[in-house]
Symmetry: C2
Subunit: 192 residues, 2 copies
């Protein structure tokens, strides 16, 4: 059973436990998916409205990207959980002879590469979520603008959370300020 | 059926749609609950370890608070969805006579109070989540310190997201810097 097929309550209960998955990476992917979904909600509340006819094609294109992004992040919840099984297996390999030591080092290096690729992929997906939130805040219904702000906040938190597992200064440096900008513009429009 | 009993996939799919619930407030409560759960995970990975025997009682007390907080935030996902039904009903009341107008105004004011109480309660709960993340980062297993950082990030994003629905400058002013401090201390320890 895939982790995202668990009920929200069961997912959170497993997250709170010492079970190896879901962990911080899987939680980050889920929070990023919530950001993608909230952006998509802005689009769902905008499409088909006469007032926004001029941006209808743009909104539909954004909605398609948001839905694909949500599915990608849901898949990453599972990928994060599965990436650590080969790592655990590699740690358990024998290292008594020089041949065994060399083989263990090679297997371990490959498993580590695999395990590290997932957080980077989560970060990349969250950057797309922040770009989408910026577009939804600019073009979506003003009645749902606060949700575009929430979408930016969730994707930013997920980006930074995945970044705690992996050095990725470039993504953080570029996209955290963009998320802040979306949040600030929405907050100032709402005079919060 | 309560919203948190939906699978994660179904919850996110409804979030992405134009259905009135879940919306930004319910998503914020879920993200806050993920923060509470991640803090609790740090505690679950710390309790019972010989190396952390000196803080065992503290960790157990933190774990009890984190579990109660997660349940509180799960209940707030549902409360946010239910708070808008009386508001929709109040908007539908007739206002043809002066008596009807007065009654509608009174019912509307009460429904608005109820609807606004939930985001403030979500914000209050997220402040508790940030306090817990700070304690887990200070006292929990160093092997799980990145998860305490993630917990702070998620509770901060949920606090700010709920704050977009409601003016609450005091909570934002006090707890966003604390969440930032937890994140920075964790990030610097991990040299991200």
């Amino acid at each position: 059973m895939e982790l995202t097929q668990l009920s929200c309550e069961e997912f959170l209960s497993q997250l709170a436990s010492k079970a190896p998955a879901p962990g911080g990476g899987g939680a980050a992917a889920l929070v990023g998916a919530a950001g993608a979904a909230l952006g998509n909600m802005v689009g769902s509340l905008t499409t088909g409205k006469k007032k926004y006819a001029a941006v209808e094609a743009d909104i539909q294109a954004l909605n398609a990207r948001a839905e694909a992004l949500r599915q990608r992040l849901e898949a990453l919840v599972q990928a994060d959980a599965e990436a650590f099984a080969p790592l655990a297996a590699a740690y358990g390999l024998p290292k008594e002879t020089p041949e065994q030591q060399a083989q263990k080092a090679a297997v371990l290096a490959e498993a580590l590469d695999g395990a590290c690729a997932v957080p980077l992929d989560i970060m990349d997906a969250c950057c797309e979520g922040i770009r989408l939130a910026a577009d939804y805040a600019a073009k979506g219904s003003v009645l749902a603008v606060s949700d575009a702000g929430c979408a930016a906040l969730f994707c930013k938190a997920a980006l930074q959370a995945a970044g705690l597992d992996e050095k990725a200064a470039r993504m953080l440096a570029e996209y955290v300020p963009l998320a802040d900008e979306v949040y600030q513009s929405v907050a100032s429009r709402l005079r919060v």
